[in-house]
């Protein structure tokens, strides 16, 4: 049985306020999709000025950074991944920050939100995380290009779920977006969602390959209509991955979807978020645009590998008052 990520995403603290219903999806509403607009300049201005408008300091910053850790999908997606590498990562997910620092912050028990790996590493990760409550997410469907035969992509989902993945990060066919074939995108997404069964599905839009923010907005809506539990920016392999303008575009689509359907869909920026300060900006953007409810692991994740290291250093600085060094923190 796949784990239920909304029930126990990390052993500590139990932050999810209530168990939200999954997104059941809805019929494809082309009027809605085609009315989506995204003014690039205005979105960029909002994104560019947000870091100057929001600031969290001292204990608040420490708490926010701990929150960021609890929202990380600690990720390894490399051709040279091995069991040992994945086990090391899982150990880091269980103990993301040195115990003495967590103790000083009274945050002992903090873990990352999930571990994210390729299909072949799912079993290893599930075993390594046994008892931690940390879910395993698998990238799937011919990740990262999504161009393998469709039936194999669907089959891959089933195998990852069977291997114990609680979350499946699928990639969409970018060509459906680029050619405006929204029905095809909807059908593909719906079928992938069905293949996931009880596992939650994150739809990777690969926004760096969609051409325009308007396409990002439309693809976000179509994937949500087809039942995505999360929409995610990137595979981490595109030339441009998560950005604040893309984030703004996607979370505004999530907000619209919630306004119209009452359904909460999650958001996962992935790739390129490597600094603690960036993570704080993302969290403030989520807080201001979507609201506090989205600052929980059932509705928000960072897809990141090196972000944790920078957060650890900032937390040590907070606790000791001295700037830290990366070698003082165990690698994952």
């Amino acid at each position: 049985m796949p784990q239920d990520p909304t029930a126990a995403s990390g052993a500590f603290p139990v932050t999810t306020k209530e168990h939200l219903p999954r997104n059941p999806g809805m019929p494809l509403d082309m009027d809605w999709v085609m009315s989506a607009q995204a003014n690039t300049s205005a979105i960029e201005r909002r994104a560019a000025t947000l870091p100057g408008r929001r600031s969290v300091k001292k204990d608040y910053q420490a708490a926010w950074l701990c929150k960021a850790i609890s929202l990380i999908d600690l990720t390894t997606l490399s051709g040279d991944d091995s069991a040992g590498r994945v086990q090391r990562l899982c150990a880091k997910a269980r103990q993301p920050v040195a115990p003495d620092l967590l103790e000083a912050l009274d945050m002992t028990g903090l873990t990352t939100g999930a571990v994210c790996v390729y299909h072949d590493m799912v079993e290893t990760a599930v075993a390594a995380l046994a008892g931690s409550g940390i879910p395993v997410a698998a990238v799937s469907t011919g990740f990262p290009a999504g161009l393998s035969p469709f039936h194999l992509r669907i089959a891959e989902i089933g195998e990852s779920v069977a291997a114990g993945a609680a979350e499946i990060d699928i990639v969409i066919s970018r060509r459906h977006v680029l050619t405006g074939n929204w029905q095809a995108l909807y059908d593909e997404m719906a079928e992938m969602r069905a293949a996931c069964g009880d596992a939650h599905v994150k739809a990777i839009l690969a926004t760096g390959e969609l051409g325009t923010l308007r396409n990002v907005a439309k693809a976000s809506l179509v994937c949500m209509m087809a039942g995505a539990d999360f929409i995610k920016t990137s595979t981490g392999k595109e030339p441009v991955n998560a950005t604040l303008p893309v984030t703004l575009t996607m979370i505004r689509a999530i907000r619209d979807y919630h306004d119209r359907t009452g359904i909460y869909v999650g958001y996962k920026p992935a790739g390129g978020i490597s600094k603690a300060k960036d993570a704080l900006v993302y969290l403030s953007m989520i807080k201001d645009e979507l609201g506090d409810r989205w600052l929980q692991p059932d509705l928000f994740r960072f897809g990141a590998s090196s972000l944790l290291g920078d957060i650890e250093r900032q937390l040590e600085h907070h606790v000791t008052g001295s700037y830290s060094a990366s070698w003082r923190h165990a690698i994952g």
Binding site: N39, E44, R46, G52, R54, Y60, D106, R252
Partner: protein
């Protein structure tokens, strides 16, 4: 709260910016005197400068006296000739000012926030960087002035009075261009917010500003009035329309150059195909920027009916997320209102007009005012018409682009406007139709030193920034001509031949004067040449109506206007002998040369009709700022007494070439040459109402012309004794006035064009 608790609540918490350095600077200065002639005067009668956010004393500042103002003007006068000599030397000083401002940017930002109450985010990220930018930009203008503006020179001493909403930035807008062009200044910061100006004075000496080039005198409105009435060559004012009017009256007839940047009630138009979320976010920057205390604020929301409910819902949700409180907190969107008196003004205005449905978030106690949205208002609601100057947005709906433009323009103001649409055709069609000096497409409150800022209608006149802003700080190098008032000839002779009736020319038709009076016109030897109608205010009224009916002229192409001007020249040429003869009969001098020159002027105006291009300003955005030249509107022109044909045509032709409609009061002593022109106009395909000609006494026409609310400018080239009355009366609708003289024997067409146009900056950010 513990880290663990915050982990659950995810609150922002306090993020205070330190005020230590700024307070230390204030403490080091003690009580402030004025900055005159490069040195601080001893403190005089002091008044308190308060921090509005905390109601605590920041500093004691001197109330200026007449002697202080006189001393400052004297120092500025003394320093001016040397300062105007060397553009490169000025550039170096302006560059140093930019550099030092930049190096002290945090001190300026914190001091500004302490003094004004605006969020530190704004003073740090907007006010100070923009002020720095103005000095850099104008350092460059000083450097290239000699080459690029060879026909222009400094005005002399500029008296500058600035408001409290952007104390440092308005100082930069005023001082940088003035200094760049070789002027010296006496500047008065607002009574409530003088501190950054005093800090600026401190760095003037460090930057090598020669003594007397910059003088800062503090005090209240009375001191401002002393500066306005002092021996200055130019008055520049930013502030309320009421005070602007008063300044117009005070400077009337003095010959002082004047620029007024006044109030506004900016329309913020959202079409149904806009990116609604971005438009909602834009509203935040439009009306909740600087607590809404912004003359160019988008304070009137116009939403297309079909999306109004969605828009309001989203807007209210966004408002609820605005953080209001300690302006020094780095996580605050809305700070304190500048002064309890301003807070009371806002409160009283809302209380006096309990209309519409009000949505308001909360504000801390003290000098704060919560973000407010009032929906369901009609254009007729006072709150839709009056400037509130606070964080209050009023809203109404529209159905079509035409209706949006109508509602947007249903205002006495004309400063700035926003248009939101993803349809480039729609946005670029609407933007030029909005009566405003600045239009932002899919944006708001964008400003830069490279783009002119300023309004039309009762938002004032003149531009600050860009090439267009330099006009207000320079004058022609050529010595001004003298206006000559000429008495009409008298006589008692009778007329020979068939009687001809010269009526008025209104709307392309001859019309009898409403008064029913005519006056005999005699030649130099007393011969009766004919009769001329005596126009009155009612004829003027009719002429304005005719101008309004001919509004299409403004939208006609430059090519078409050129063709018509050439045709006029052709038809005048065909009757050159007749006109020359008439001139001789009126003035006694041979008219051949004057007719030929008039034909040449028509050619010049025709030539310029399609060549007085706008500009694309290099502003620091991905996008363009289009500086479009638009006609002023309806211009009343008192034609010169001398050169009765050439003067009239020299003034008329550039005006109509730019798309204006004109009402010409013909040369008072020699009106019959103007009435002869009717037939030339009639046969030249000129649409009726574009040119209207009145005859009669200028003294009868000047006042109703200057008073008429639907005339946008008055040019008076006639009796200089009329100037004062015209400029006082012009304060009514703050129409532009040009009381002067030109040497009509020279071709002044190009010099007239800036008077015949307004520069509208249309900002178009873009991105796929």
């Amino acid at each position: 709260m513990t880290v663990k608790e915050i982990f659950e609540t995810m609150d922002y918490g306090p993020a205070p910016e330190s005020s230590k350095e700024a307070l230390a600077w204030l403490a080091s200065k003690g009580d402030f005197g004025h900055f005159i002639g490069g040195a601080w005067t001893a403190p005089g009668t002091l008044f308190a400068v308060m921090n509005p956010a905390t109601d605590t004393l920041l500093a004691q500042v001197t109330q200026g006296t007449q002697a202080d103002v006189d001393a400052a003007v004297k120092a500025a006068r003394k320093a001016q000739p040397a300062w105007a000599k060397d553009g490169h030397a000025r550039a170096k000083v302006l560059y140093a000012l930019a550099r030092i401002l930049q190096k002290q940017s945090r001190l300026f930002a914190v001091l500004e926030t302490l003094d004004n109450g605006k969020p530190i985010r704004e003073s740090r990220d907007i006010d100070v960087p923009q002020a720095v930018r103005h000095f850099y930009y104008h350092a460059g203008m000083a450097q290239i002035m000699a080459d690029e503006l060879p026909d222009r020179q400094a005005l002399g001493v500029c008296g500058q009075v600035i408001p409290w909403n952007f104390p440092l930035l308005m100082l930069a807008w005023k001082i940088a261009p003035a200094l760049a062009m070789g002027n010296t200044v006496v500047l008065k910061p607002a009574e409530w917010t003088p501190l950054t100006a005093l800090l600026f004075a401190d760095i003037c000496n460090q930057a090598g500003v020669p003594p007397g080039v910059v003088n800062i005198v503090t005090g209240d409105g009375e001191v401002g009035e002393m500066i306005v009435t002092a021996d200055v060559d130019k008055v520049a004012f930013t502030g309320s329309t009421g005070v602007g009017r008063r300044i117009r009256e005070l400077t009337a007839g003095t010959g002082k150059a004047l620029s007024l940047e006044l109030g506004g009630k900016g329309p913020y138009i959202v079409f149904e195909d806009a990116d609604i979320d971005s438009a909602v976010e834009g509203v935040v920057d439009a009306i909740w920027f600087n607590q809404g205390q912004v003359c160019c604020a988008g304070s009137r929301l116009l939403v297309q009916e079909g999306i109004a409910d969605v828009f309001y819902t989203k807007l209210k949700a966004r408002m609820s997320g605005l953080r209001i409180g300690d302006p020094l907190d780095k996580c605050i969107d809305i700070g304190a209102i500048v002064h309890p008196r301003q807070q009371a003004r806002i409160r009283d205005m809302l209380a006096a007009h309990p209309e519409g449905e009000t949505f308001q978030t909360t504000a801390p106690s003290g000098c704060y005012f919560p973000p407010t949205l009032i929906t369901g208002l009609a254009p007729a609601s006072p709150l839709m018409q009056q400037e509130i100057f606070g964080p209050v947005l009023v809203a109404t709906t529209f159905r079509t682009p035409v209706e949006a433009v109508e509602i947007a323009n249903s205002t006495r103001y004309g400063l700035a406007a926003s248009v939101w649409s993803e349809n480039i055709n729609l946005a670029l069609d609407v933007a030029p139709k909005l009566v405003a000096g600045i239009v932002w497409v899919n944006g708001t409150n964008m400003m830069d030193a490279a783009a002119g800022f300023g309004g039309v209608r009762e938002s004032g006149f003149g531009r600050e920034g860009g090439w267009e802003g330099l006009t207000g700080y320079t004058k022609p190098v050529a010595a001004p001509a003298k206006t000559r008032s000429i008495a009409a000839h008298t006589g008692d002779g009778g007329a020979g031949g068939l009687d001809r009736t010269a009526k008025l020319y209104i709307g392309g038709k001859q019309a009898r004067p409403d008064s029913g009076y005519s006056r005999a016109v005699y030649g130099p030897k007393g011969a009766l040449l004919g009769h001329t109608s005596l126009a009155s205010r009612k004829d003027l009224r009719n002429a304005v109506e005719a101008c309004n009916a001919a509004k299409g002229w403004a939208k006609s192409s430059g090519h078409l206007r050129a063709q018509i001007l050439y045709y006029m020249a052709e038809n005048l040429s065909a009757r050159a002998t007749e006109f020359a003869t008439r001139l001789k009969s009126l003035t006694g001098s041979d008219g051949t040369a004057e007719v030929e020159a008039s034909i040449s002027r028509l050619f010049s105006a025709a030539a310029w009709a399609d060549k007085y291009d706008g500009q694309v300003h290099d502003v620091p955005i991905r996008g363009v700022a289009l500086a479009m030249k638009e006609p002023v509107g309806t211009i009343g022109i008192l034609c010169p007494d001398d050169a009765p044909l050439l003067g009239l045509i020299s003034a008329m032709a550039p005006a109509i070439a730019m798309g204006n409609r004109v009402i010409l009061a013909a040369s008072q002593p020699f009106p019959l040459i103007a009435t002869d022109l009717y037939q030339v106009l009639d046969t030249s395909d000129l649409p009726g109402g574009v040119v209207n000609i009145l005859t009669g006494d200028h003294s009868d026409l000047a006042d109703p012309m200057a008073r008429h609310m639907d005339i946008d400018a008055v040019w008076a080239f006639a009796d200089p004794a009329l100037a004062k009355g015209i400029e006082v009366a012009a304060a009514g609708n703050l129409k532009r006035t040009w009381c002067g003289a030109l040497d009509w024997s020279r071709d002044n067409t190009k010099a007239i064009l800036p008077h015949a146009t307004e520069v509208k900056n249309i900002w178009i950010p873009y991105g796929a």
